[in-house]
């Protein structure tokens, strides 16, 4: 499967939801130690809302579809990560406008747009110990895979592995955004919850594709 159509997109969101559900307690605990502990709930509720809404949307234009799903997620879970992930979906959608199927080049563009969107919306950059520190390596991995003409399966494996590494690396960083920033120095040594959530998103995406 080298392109993604509406049906694949639905499977992807369902797979993310299932990945996120498995990670729920871990995310609650992670966010609870330096934040308010809502992350596990908001991610599950947000992707659940997207899955529930999916069939109500009749558009075949995947761009429009993603825009509507992004808005759905935002109005369901307007927390920091909920809003940032919906920003990702909206920005990705703007790159998919007019298309009914997406190839790896499209996905790479969409991931880059998501990164830009988060940086703008969150006024943040790579190294700030946020979800960006997982998202940015994933976008990079997709770009490299596209340049190297890798297949979809390998590309998604690369992206997921990049998020694993990225999330792990946030241990060495100091929080400067959100509630965790109040703990600043104390945040060093722990993974950023948002970055870990991004990792589980890419784990969900990757699981849809096989060799």
């Amino acid at each position: 499967m080298e392109t993604i159509n509406k049906n694949t997109l639905k499977k992807i969101f369902e797979s993310i939801l299932s990945s996120m559900s498995d990670a729920k307690e871990e995310l609650i605990a992670l966010d609870g130690s330096m934040g308010d502990g809502d992350l596990g709930l908001t991610m599950c509720n947000g992707f659940k809302a997207i899955c529930d809404e999916f069939d109500n949307i009749t558009d075949d234009d995947l761009g429009k579809l993603l825009m509507k799903l992004g808005m759905k997620m935002n109005s369901t879970v307007p927390s920091t990560m909920g809003t940032l992930i919906s920003t990702c979906i909206l920005k990705a959608g703007s790159k998919a406008k007019g298309k009914t199927s997406l190839d790896l080049d499209d996905l790479s563009d969409m991931a880059q747009a998501a990164v830009d969107g988060v940086m703008q919306r969150g006024n943040s950059k790579v190294g700030d110990k946020t979800m960006l520190d997982a998202l940015y390596p994933a976008a990079n991995a997709l770009k490299n895979a596209a340049v190297k003409n890798k297949d979809m399966f390998s590309a998604q494996q690369d992206a997921y592995k990049a998020t694993c590494l990225g999330a792990e690396n946030t241990k060495n960083l100091k929080s400067v955004h959100g509630r965790a920033a109040y703990y600043s120095e104390k945040s060093i040594g722990r993974r950023d919850p948002g970055a870990v959530a991004v990792m589980y998103i890419f784990r969900g995406i990757a699981a849809v594709f096989n060799k």
């Binding site: 920091t80 969150g122 006024n123």
Partner: protein, 335 residues
């Protein structure tokens, strides 16, 4: 958790239902959504700048209580301590816009900033002119020099008051925005918390604090403050808070100011007046004149015990705006 509520999940929604049931002559919903509350006469005054605010629930009268005549025009309402969605904000903006543009006036909190940002994008698509001013009066939340990283707390009242009066005077969007920003720039707040609040859906206190401790500078969602020490006499506490505030702006002899002594929720009015007593002594001794005072609950954290002091430096432009009459079901100034 000891609360007079039904299902904790319905806390924010039922609060709004109660408010709309109580004040239908002043407030109404947009499209029946409890996330979008506007003045009952919103959008009916051609040429008047509209002011939108918004944020999490649990801070009454912030935010909804400042929707009214001479104040804001509409509010988007989130769950307890959680941002409302960009969509809700956008719906409010559409409903209150009088054709003269909308000022987003709200406290500096991550989630709110992002959602108001998204809402602005949505507004622009529909050709609604939008500006924004982030209230950031909490001295404790970032060092001097980093004023633009500070959180918004009780000083919000001043921003609503001045911007609302400016809009009522039919000033254009740029002017209303400038005045709101100037009011924020001239406001400083410091608070002290004695006990935690409990978010209904969480069910346990947000933070632990010993029976004989207080925390200076704690945020209104329980964000860590500057120092945690043994509880001291209120005169000493007021000295500390006021000192931080006065040196930060800095305020000087012969300044004329408006002040807020704000209760965070559980603190009795008696204690707020004991605090005001000391505040007045300090300001008098420094030859700073209190032109107007607000003593009561103006920005709360559910049932948190504690209080904050806010001081706004007035000039010929701000003074009459703060003095202007206003009315909302939660905040009435008739003289």
């Amino acid at each position: 958790m000891k609360k007079l509520i039904n299902n904790p999940k319905d806390f924010a929604k039922e609060t709004i239902e109660g408010i709309i049931a109580a004040h239908p002559e002043s407030l109404k919903l947009v499209n029946g959504s409890w996330h979008c509350v506007i003045r009952s006469d919103a959008g009916t005054k051609p040429g008047k700048v509209a002011i939108a605010t918004g944020g999490g629930s649990g801070h009454l009268p912030v935010f909804l209580g400042y929707v009214g005549q001479g104040l804001a025009d509409g509010v988007s309402v989130g769950n307890v301590f959680a941002s409302p969605s960009a969509e809700a904000m956008h719906e409010v903006d559409k409903a209150i816009n009088n054709g003269a543009g909308v000022l987003h006036l709200y406290g500096r909190y991550g989630g709110d900033i992002m959602n108001f940002g998204m809402a602005s994008d949505l507004d622009e698509i529909e050709n609604i002119k939008v500006t924004e001013v982030l209230v950031s009066d909490d001295v404790a939340s970032a060092q001097k020099g980093n004023e633009n990283k500070r959180r918004g707390v009780a000083g919000m009242l001043f921003a609503y008051k001045a911007a609302g009066a400016a809009a009522e005077k039919m000033l254009p969007l740029e002017e209303v925005t400038r005045i709101a920003q100037k009011t924020v720039d001239n406001t400083r707040t410091m608070g002290v918390a004695l006990t935690s609040c409990t978010v209904p859906e969480v069910g346990t206190p947000t933070f632990a604090i010993a029976d004989d401790e207080m925390e200076i500078g704690m945020g209104i969602h329980g964000e860590p403050g500057i120092t945690r020490t043994k509880l001291q006499p209120i005169d000493k506490i007021v000295e500390k808070l006021t000192d931080k505030i006065l040196t930060d702006l800095p305020f000087a002899s012969d300044d004329t100011v408006a002040v807020i002594v704000n209760g965070l929720g559980a603190t009795p009015k008696e204690e707020l007046y004991i605090a005001y007593r000391k505040l007045k002594q300090i300001l008098s001794s420094k030859n700073i004149k209190i032109h107007r005072k607000y003593i009561g609950e103006y920005a709360t954290s559910l049932e948190m015990a504690g209080m904050s002091i806010s001081i706004l430096k007035l000039d010929e432009e701000l003074l009459p705006l703060i003095d202007a009459k206003c009315y909302s079901p939660f905040f009435e100034q008739s003289r």
